[in-house]
């Protein structure tokens, strides 16, 4: 690691208190929502027996996927030896931990029996991808704390373990995101999910979301703590973001073209791409245009080079694109009717053959916001009590060849 870099805790003061209050308020709202849903049952949500996973799952999957991507910033420094990324590693690990905890909390608190969490930890079905994920998520947290220790401890032992920890974290992360993508990849019954490409697609998406969130947190942290943040670092993040957005587009193209070739999938494809209402809008408007093309333009437009506002907007839009994608896959995929009898019109009292509608309820939204609050609070506290942020990320500090 660059020896000239020194790390220090963020200062306290009014800004810190304000952040605590805001994130604490979000958490309180989320917790109240959980109590309300737990007390009443899921009939107070917009979810039903047709759309069984709703907005809480969009939040949860978003954060879990982003967690893996946030840790990628650290991996680039450790595994690929890019020196400029190494000072960014500590914050990346904390953001990853915070995102994973926030996402898991939302997921767990939406369970029909959140009180039976201990059952989920003592009864395992080894064939279930959920079971793999319980192991992957728990392992991820442990590895991330270990990785952070190797970055922060000054002992020789810690330093000697820095590289191995980075490699383990890198591999674990990839498997974890594949596990999350595979939740959808192996559902044979659903027209929109049954594709193994979901696994690499989710890995690439995780890089986009993680980089975008990392960039926004870094910019906010340096602005609010009055530290210097140079263009060299930001430009690395900027181009990383755009390249991964392009990679997601490539996988999306492959996925949809594959589906379009198979007659079996024509129905769902025309639903998502042409006449799915909100889902078509989210795909073209949210994911493709606002979430992919505009951010790529903002990054690669030469006139906007070193423009931080453009980068911030690009990162925010990339997050919007990611949310659109997850909402589309999750809710859109469920809203399309199951095919019981191909080439037939199917009707029943259980809404067979009907495009299901879903309107998220306020408690679901607040539960998700509570999870985001937990993530932000953990980051704020982490930055305050641990030496995560380099005192300066000015170009002359991060780049030894800077003149």
């Amino acid at each position: 690691m660059n020896k000239r870099i020194t790390f220090s805790e963020a200062g306290g003061g009014l800004g810190f208190i304000t952040l605590l209050m805001v994130t604490g308020g979000m958490i309180a709202l989320g917790f109240l929502s959980f109590l309300y849903m737990e007390h009443s049952g899921h009939h107070v949500t917009g979810m039903n027996n047709q759309i069984v996973w709703g907005l809480p799952h969009v939040f949860a999957i978003f954060m879990i996927v982003a967690a893996s991507g946030a840790a990628n910033i650290g991996s680039v420094g450790t595994v690929f030896g890019k020196k400029i990324y190494q000072p960014l590693g500590r914050l990346s690990v904390i953001i990853a931990i915070a995102l994973l905890i926030g996402g898991l909390l939302v997921l767990v608190l939406d369970l029909g029996h959140a009180d039976r969490l201990i059952v989920a930890m003592t009864h395992f079905n080894p064939k279930s991808i959920f079971t793999w994920n319980i192991a992957l998520y728990s392992g991820f947290l442990g590895i991330m704390f270990f990785y952070l220790w190797t970055m922060m401890d000054r002992s020789k032992l810690a330093k000697s373990l820095y590289k191995p920890a980075g490699y383990i974290a890198f591999l674990w992360r990839i498997i974890l995101t594949m596990g999350t993508g595979s939740i959808f990849g192996f559902l044979v019954s659903r027209q929109y999910y049954d594709a193994a490409i979901m696994a690499p697609l989710f890995i690439t998406l995780s890089y986009v979301l993680g980089t975008a969130i990392y960039t926004l947190v870094l910019m906010a942290a340096y602005k609010w703590t009055g530290r210097e943040l140079g263009d060299k670092v930001l430009n690395r993040l900027r181009y990383t973001l755009a390249i991964f957005i392009a990679a997601v587009l490539f996988f999306e193209l492959a996925r949809h073209l594959t589906n379009l070739y198979a007659t079996e999938h024509h129905g769902i494809e025309s639903y998502i791409l042409l006449d799915g209402g909100i889902y078509t809008f989210l795909f073209w408007g949210g994911q493709i245009f606002l979430g992919s093309l505009v951010p790529m333009f903002l990054v690669w437009c030469k006139k906007l080079k070193d423009n931080r506002l453009a980068l911030g907007v690009a990162a925010a839009l990339a997050i919007l694109g990611g949310v659109s994608f997850i909402y589309n896959v999750l809710i859109g995929g469920q809203s399309y009717p199951l095919v019981l009898f191909p080439n037939a019109v199917v009707e029943s009292s259980f809404f067979d053959g009907i495009t299901n509608s879903y309107f998220p309820s306020l408690p679901e939204m607040l539960l998700g916001i509570g999870g985001v609050g937990v993530t932000l609070l953990l980051i704020v506290i982490g930055v305050k009590v641990l030496r995560l942020l380099p005192d300066s990320l000015a170009d002359k500090v991060t780049d030894p060849h800077h003149k």
């Binding site: 029909g112 079905n125 019954s189 199917v346």
Partner: protein, 262 residues
């Protein structure tokens, strides 16, 4: 009481630890009422009788020597399956949720009307859990609550279901429902609970007592129930002679519920 015990014991015998608990329960009950394990009827209080009358003794393991199945002949279903749905509702006590909306209501079995687009041919059939041999719901369940008994009956162990609904995502037949509200006045032999997933369990309590599922009794002229492994059973003979169709046979799930006339 006894019926519920039958179901749970059979469910639990696939799980070693819970099996011990049941052994303990039996021992406890025996000591309370002063009967030995072999007694079949005992009066535990005036008017309350503990009865163990069934085809298969409750502590006998469910084996894979039998595989229970249904053959539904849609051409003989005069009402398209309405009577089956009503019988199931009555048997298991579903269909009267008060707070849930229609999309949230549980449906263990439903009548599906199929109109072929090209010919306009219309068929009606009851659709419920198809009791797959390789059930996707069993594969995806993180806790093993969604399970298949050795005799082929697929059901939910409601004690360890955490309500994640992954099985509902995985089921190709939309056979499962999640309970969205607190329920009261349940059938003792078919307990249901808020926050838990449920579905047709082929009336496991009746099957273990040597009886036929409620839907079969409601449409005896159209539905055959029996052991698919027994070549001499009526259902096996009918399937051999006339064949039977699986819904979404392309998925290769080898369903225990077969149809004729679709």
């Amino acid at each position: 009481m006894s019926d519920r015990n039958h179901m749970h014991q059979n469910v639990d015998q696939n799980r070693g630890d819970d099996g011990n608990i049941n052994a303990y329960r039996r021992q406890f009950m025996a000591s309370v009422v002063g009967i030995s394990g072999v007694a079949t009827v005992a009066t535990i209080a005036p008017g309350i009788i503990l009865q163990q009358a069934q085809a298969k003794p409750a502590d006998e393991m469910v084996t894979n020597k039998v595989r229970w199945g249904l053959l539904i002949d849609t051409s003989r279903l005069t009402d398209g399956g309405d009577a089956c749905v009503e019988a199931c509702k009555k048997e298991h006590g579903w269909g009267n949720e008060k707070l849930s909306n229609k999309e949230q209501d549980a449906q263990w079995i439903r009548k599906v009307k199929v109109t072929e687009k090209m010919t306009g041919h219309v068929t009606s059939l009851p659709v419920m859990c198809q009791h797959c041999d390789t059930a996707p719901c069993v594969d995806v369940c993180p806790t093993g609550a969604s399970m298949k008994r050795a005799d082929g009956i697929v059901l939910v162990n409601k004690h360890i279901c955490i309500g994640c609904r992954y099985c509902m995502m995985a089921c190709p037949y939309k056979a499962r429902s999640f309970v969205h509200e607190t329920l009261t006045d349940q059938r003792p032999y078919s307990p249901r609970g808020r926050g838990v997933v449920e579905s047709c369990n082929m009336c496991v309590h009746r099957v273990d007592a040597g009886k036929k599922p409620a839907c079969v009794e409601a449409a005896p002229e159209a539905i055959l129930f029996g052991d698919l492994n027994d070549k001499e059973s009526d259902i096996s003979k009918a399937l051999k002679e006339f064949g039977g169709t699986q819904i979404r046979a392309d998925l290769g799930l080898n369903t225990g519920v077969r149809y004729r006339g679709i």
